[in-house]
């Protein structure tokens, strides 16, 4: 890789990279840049209905973000959510993938599709469906839901976690499963010759080899957790316990509706940074072991 390469076809490179670069700049760099710029603005006015004047406010909005208790609470809530839901979901996904990959499995094709099917249901629809299943008076499982308030303040976070798990477990399973399929057959042969049982093969061969895939799904899930929006938004119409600032993204949405764009932009920037730091830390912590 250290061999220096001469650029042979600059025109061709431009043609191939150009469309991407243009779209990337227009729909990624520019909006982010605009959000950062907006987050440094602040509004001034005089009198009850005085005209608004947008001026440079430095870090005013960021101070408001840090002082915002609802924002801290919502971050804490999704972190708690992620700390429980992500390991559970990935554990189940890994288990299902290993089961499908086991040489004794029958009907692997059917089950692969069956596990994956919930992911084909749009998140909003899934949330509406589960909302009705949880509902105390309309659920087909009324005997349970009238006794246990699944939509109450104590449990609703985990009710949402269940919906998210239901939707995404098959998707994560598929990523891990395809990574399992890529393991060459001679590795198993060698393990069998060494006298390893299927349990031992799963534990000592398969799991270490698919660790990169598990970490990849882990990063995706962490990002997804911090950006929870659709499910809690839908649950607002089923539960009185889901407030308009329940998750960071809901809070951004609520703030933009005020309309207080500068503050909403500052929230978004902080949230994006937090997501980046968290994913990056997770990768750093796991990478050495996984990609050795």
């Amino acid at each position: 890789m250290s061999r220096p390469r001469r650029v042979q076809h600059p025109g061709a490179i431009a043609v191939f990279v150009g469309p991407f670069a243009l779209l990337f700049a227009l729909f990624y760099v520019l909006p982010i840049g605009y959000a950062v710029w907006q987050s440094t603005r602040t509004v001034q006015r005089v009198g009850t209905f005085g005209p608004a004047e947008e001026v440079f406010g430095g870090l005013t909005q960021y101070r408001a973000v840090l002082e915002n208790e609802a924002f801290r609470d919502s971050i804490g809530r999704v972190l708690l959510f992620g700390a429980v839901q992500v390991p559970v979901m990935l554990g189940v996904a890994l288990l299902l993938a290993l089961l499908l990959d086991s040489p004794t499995a029958r009907g692997a094709k059917f089950f692969r599709l069956a596990f994956f099917a919930p992911y084909a249901v749009p998140g909003v629809i899934a949330a509406i469906m589960w909302g009705f299943l949880y509902s105390p008076n309309l659920s087909p499982f009324r005997q349970v839901t009238q006794e246990v308030d699944l939509l109450g303040a104590d449990l609703v976070l985990w009710s949402i976690a269940n919906v998210v798990t239901w939707v995404y477990v098959g998707y994560n399973m598929l990523i891990i499963y395809s990574s399992l399929l890529a393991i060459p057959g001679e590795v198993y042969e060698a393990a069998v010759l060494d006298g390893a049982s299927q349990w031992r093969i799963a534990w000592s061969v398969k799991i270490p080899l698919v660790m990169p895939a598990i970490i990849l799904t882990g990063v995706f899930s962490i990002i997804g957790t911090l950006q929870l929006l659709a499910e809690p938004q839908v649950f607002r119409s089923f539960s009185t316990a889901v407030a308009s600032d329940y998750t960071p993204n809901l809070l951004v949405y609520t703030t933009a509706a005020v309309p207080n764009q500068p503050l909403a932009a500052a929230f978004s920037v902080v949230l994006a940074l937090a997501t980046f730091v968290l994913s990056f830390t997770f990768l750093k912590l796991t990478q050495r072991r996984a990609f050795q």
Partner: protein, 453 residues
Amino acid sequence: MKISTRVASVTTLAALLLPLAACGGDSTGDAGEGSGPAAGGGGAEATACEPSNGEVNLTFFSWVPGIEGVVDIWNEQNPDVQVEVQTGPNGNSGTYQNFFNQLEAGNPPDLGQIEFDALPNFRVQDGLTDIAGCEGVMDAQDQFVEWTWTQVQLGEEDAVYAIPQDTGPMAMFYREDLFTEAGIEVPTTWEEYAAAAEQVRENDGYITNFSTSDINQFAGLVWQAGGSWFGTEGESWQVRLDSEESVQVADYWDGLVQEDLVSTLPPWTTEWDNAYNTGQAWTWISAVWGANSIMSGAPDTEGAWRVAPMPTWDGEVAAGNWGGSTTAVFNGTEHPHEAAQFALWLKTSEEAHTALIEAANLYPATTAGQQLPALAEGVPFYGDQPIYEVFTEAGATVPTEWTWGPTMTQVYNDVADGFSAAVSGDGGLADALTAAQDSTTTALEAQGIPVGE
């Protein structure tokens, strides 16, 4: 050929840049001239409102069902002023945000539907044209129910920022059959209402459902009690979410919630409809448009409902108001005169009113409109009771002091969050109001809006 193309493109460029220059002027706050007839800030002087020459095309955004048919009547009669209707979801479901974005981009429709509670927000965002100077607007004042006109003036005596469209005077829908069967008297005061609530609970029902997330209803209850959540004095706003009247109403409902005498289902959900359809909920303190909500949400109860005036505090007759909208002329329109004429026609002419009642059951904001024959008939769903009479009387007793604040979306969210926490056992309703008082003050100050004591 080549030259003329170039000239054309230069002209186009200039045309594109000019509004930009005007925008720039606006945002510094000193230029009303740049953006045409729109009033700049203080609204001290009514703007000139001259008719435009030639054919005029207006755009009008509304979420009233069937509004196209009503506007067609105007378009037929006024070939020179053609109105194009744009429709979308109701205000808080996304349309207001679109309006704000369009205003920010300098490209709003000429007219738009705005609910009373959102008017101050649009005024603060400098989104409204003062149409007081337009022909016929000031003269129309006497035709409207008193409090509605106060609302569109936004505290300025010689300004008018919108034409009232419909109102939502409140009354009490109740299940006459269930009350009679159980031998419970229909309550006329809030004290009797609380007593009846206990009796209803003994009959395995709830007297009503307390809405923790649709704060508009609660605002209507405070409005009835003579409170106001906001006010303006001099150059600053007063926030009074935790005023005496507001806390009185909150404590009253807190008591009913604590003793499990009212249910707390999320409103406007299937679960909620179900409670009304199955006879679990016996009354609903709601606005005139609630008549339709019951018909569609609780179809099995046909004939069982009646309407009575809202229970009162100590027998003092007053009604709250829940909902209602206006038609506003947006800042940036090139044709304020024509826009105002269209808005006036839509809100005051008998043909438009009748069409609006037929299309969407809108309850007019004009006194004449409320006397229309379409509203005098008995309604079969309500056992042929002429229910609109109750609402007409209620409308006349709605207090005029109520003022909406400039960030109502935020207020609703914060109060709803607090109320939801309260019914989940975390604090009381009055605590939620105190918390919302603080967060609202913060939100106003974050927007540079002065808040006084």
